[in-house]
Symmetry: D2
Subunit: 232 residues, 4 copies
C-alpha cells in the first residue's frame, strides 16, 4: 500500500473510460476541480493515458489516476503502460483489474507492488465479495466493490451489502478503503449509497451519458456531502 | 490508407518502448527535432501514451506516433487506447502489431480502418515476408519488415532481402512505404540498410542503450542522409 | 498447405463449439458418418479437444478437426493444444482463427506452418474479404468466408458475395478451398448457398439448436447434394 | 470445493505439459498406475486434453486432471475447454492458473465454482504466499505453492517455507491441501520436500526430461513413501 497519498472520505470516482477525452475532458476536469473544493469531497478522475499530462497540469485538487498500467520494469515492452511514465506525466494513482481490463492474479499482485514502489495509489476492482477478499491480501489503497453477484436481485448496494463488503475487506486489511460502485445513475443513487454507509462511490455512465455532465457532477458531489454529513 | 500525412523518404523511426519517458524523453525529442531539420530526414517517434501530449506540443518537426491503439469506438472500454484520444493529444499516427504487442487479424484490420477515419497514419509491423504481404491488403501507410525469418542466417536485411520485401509489398499495394528494421545497433548499420535500397529504417536499443543517445541519434540520421544521397 | 488430405467438394462443416460433447456428440457423429455416405458429401466435425479421440475411433468417414491448436513446439506450454497431440488423438485437421478464438497474425502463420509439417489440414476463418485475402497468403487448405461486413444488409452470401470472396481468394492461391458460412439456419439456407456457387458451407446453431439435430443434419446434407447436382 | 473426490496424502503430480502425448503418454500413465498401487501414493496426471479420454479409460488408479478449462457455460465458445466435456471424457479434476496459463481473478473464481458444480476437483497454482492466500478464498481442493519469490535465494521449499505456505493457506481454509512445487529434479528433491512436511509434490521436467521417465517416476514415488513414513 502506497502511503504517500491520503484520501479522506468521502470521495468519488469519475470514470470517463473511452467516452470523453481531450478538450472536452479538460472542461469536465476543471469543473470537477471546483466542485471538489465547493463540497470538500475528493474526486478521482481516470482519463485516457494520453490525457493524464494535460489534466494533471491544468487541475489542482482532482486526483488523476491512470485507467490501467502494466507491471513491467523500465526497458522493453512496446505498447505497454509503464508505471514510471504515468507517474512522470502527473498521475497520482492507477486503477487496476476493472471488468473491462481484467488482470491475471500474478500481474495484479506485481502491479500493486510496482505502484507501491513508484509511488502510485491503487484502486482495484472486485466483482464479488470473495474476489474483494482475495485482492485485499495484496494491500491496494482502495477496493471497488462491484456487486455483480447482486445484479438483478434488487438489493444492489443496500446497507446490508455495503456493510458485508466493507467488513469482509477490513477484516483482512483494515487500512484498505472501500468504494461502492453500484450502477449509480443520478444524485439519488449517490445519496443512497453514502447513506448506506459507504465511504466512497463513483460512476461512468451517470455522468458521461448525462445531458449536462457538469450539472450532474455537481448534483452528485453535493449528494455525497449531504449524505455524509447526515451520517457522520 | 490515411492520405493526410505525407512522409517523404528517407525517414527514421525511434522506438523508446518503455525505456524512456517524461523529461528525459522530451530532451531526446527536442534533439530529434533539430537533427530532423539539420539532415532533412523525417523522424517518427513512438513514445509512451502519457508522453504524446507533451512531445507533440514541444516539438515541431518530429512525427509523434502512438505505440498502439485499440479499434474500439468512443464509449465503453476502460483501459483502452482510444484512437480519437491519441489524435486529440497530438499524435499524427500509430504503430500497430509490433511483436511485443501483437494483434489479431480482425483487430488489426479494424484498427487500420479506424486510423484512416480518425486521421492517423499507420505503421504496421510484420515478422516475415508472408505476413507483410497479408498486412499489405489492409493498406497501412507503412509496413515495418522485421526479418525474424533471417535471424541467425547472417543475411539480415542485405540488399537482397530489402528488395524482396519491398517488391512483395509494393506488388500488393505500391503506395505502402517500407521500413526495414534490422537490428540496427549503430550508424554503420543504418548506412548499410539505406544503401541496400531501403526508404527508411529505425531502432530502439541502438539509441536507448547508447551511452549518449543524442549523439548516437545524430550519427544515425547523418548516416541516413549520406547513404540516401549516395544512392538517389 | 497440407497435401495429405483431399476433400472433394461439396463438403459441410458441423461446429459443435461448446454445445455438445461426450456421448451425445458421439451419437450425432455416427449419424454424420451415415449421412456423409448416403449423400456422398464429406463432413468436417470440430468437437471439443477431449472428444477427438473417441470420435475419430468410432467414426469412419467424418473428418475430425480440432477447434483450435497452438503453434508451440513439443515441450513446455501447460494449458496449450499441441499439434502433435491432436494428430495422435485422431484429428486430420484443425480450425484456426474463428471469431470466438481469434489469433494474432504471427501465431496464425506459425500454426499453419506447424499444421503443414505435422500433417493436419487447416480451415481458417476470415471475417471479411480483405481478411480472407490476407490469410490466403499463408496457404491454408480451406478459408471460411464469414461475411460479417454484410450482416444486416440483407445480401448475406448471395451469389454475388460467393463469387466475390471465392475469386478474391483464388486469385491469391487457386488451390485454397472456400467454405461459405452464412448464418445457415435450415436446409433452405444450405440449398441457397450451394446454388449460389459455394463448394462448401456449414453451421453451428442450425444443428445444435434444432429440435432434432440428427434430422436437421440429414436434411441439410441432402440439400447440399441436391443443390450441387443441379449446378454441376 | 468439490467434495466428491478425496485424495489422501501423500500424493504426487506429474505434469506432461506439451512434452508427452498419445501412445508414449499412455505408456507412462500405465506405469504410474502400477507405481501408485505399489507405494500407495495417489498420482495426479495432467495430460493434453486430447489424451484425457484414452488415459482415463486405460488406467485405474491414476487421477486424470485436465491442464486447464474455461469457465464458460454449455453453448457458444469455439476453441474453449468446456468443464462438462472434460468431465465426460473421464477427467476427475482440473489444474487452473499455472504460470504458463494464467487466469484473471474473475475467471479463476468462476472456474472453481463451475468445477464444484460439474464435479471436478481443482488444483490451483500460486506464485507466492500472498497469491496463495488470495486464491484460498476461492476454496479450491489443492493449492500448488510455487515459491518463485524464493528462486535464487537457496532456500527453496525448505522446511521453513513449507510451514509458512501451508499455515498461511490453512489459516484461510483448513480443508485446502497444499502441494509444494519446488523445481523437483530427482528422487532426492522429492524426499527432501516431503521430509520438510509437505503433503504432496510434483514435477514436469524431472520426469519428462529424464533419460528413463518410468524409472525416474518409480524412484520419485518410492521417495515420497519413504519420506512420508519416516515423518508420520
Amino acid at each position: 500500500m502506497y502511503t504517500g497519498l491520503t484520501i479522506e472520505p468521502p470521495f468519488f470516482e469519475i470514470g470517463p473510460k473511452a467516452f470523453m477525452y481531450g478538450e472536452r475532458m479538460l472542461q469536465l476536469a476543471k469543473v470537477a476541480d471546483e466542485v471538489s473544493v465547493r463540497y470538500d469531497v475528493r474526486i478521482i478522475l481516470t482519463p485516457q493515458p494520453s490525457d493524464i499530462y494535460l489534466l494533471a497540469k491544468e487541475t489542482k485538487r482532482v486526483l488523476i489516476f491512470a485507467q490501467h498500467m502494466d507491471p513491467l520494469p523500465v526497458g522493453r515492452g512496446l505498447g505497454s503502460i509503464l508505471p514510471e511514465a504515468i507517474k512522470a506525466a502527473g498521475a497520482v494513482g492507477v486503477m487496476l483489474n476493472h471488468a473491462e481490463k481484467p488482470m491475471t492474479i500474478a500481474n495484479l499482485y506485481q502491479a500493486i507492488k510496482r505502484a507501491d514502489k513508484v509511488g502510485l495509489a491503487t484502486i482495484v476492482c472486485a466483482d464479488s465479495i470473495k474476489e474483494a477478499e482475495a485482492i485485499a491480501h495484496f494491500s491496494p489503497n482502495i477496493i471497488v466493490a462491484e456487486p455483480t453477484e447482486l445484479i438483478g436481485t434488487g438489493q444492489t448496494s443496500n446497507e446490508e451489502y455495503v456493510i458485508a463488503t466493507t467488513s469482509a475487506i477490513k477484516k483482512i486489511n483494515s487500512r484498505i478503503q472501500v468504494l461502492q460502485a453500484a450502477g449509480i445513475k443520478n444524485e439519488q443513487d449517490v445519496y443512497k449509497v453514502i447513506k448506506a454507509g459507504a465511504d466512497a462511490t463513483g460512476t461512468t455512465s451517470g455522468i458521461m451519458k448525462a445531458e449536462n455532465p457538469e450539472a450532474m457532477l455537481d448534483k452528485m458531489i453535493r449528494a455525497v456531502r449531504m449524505a455524509w454529513d447526515e451520517t457522520h
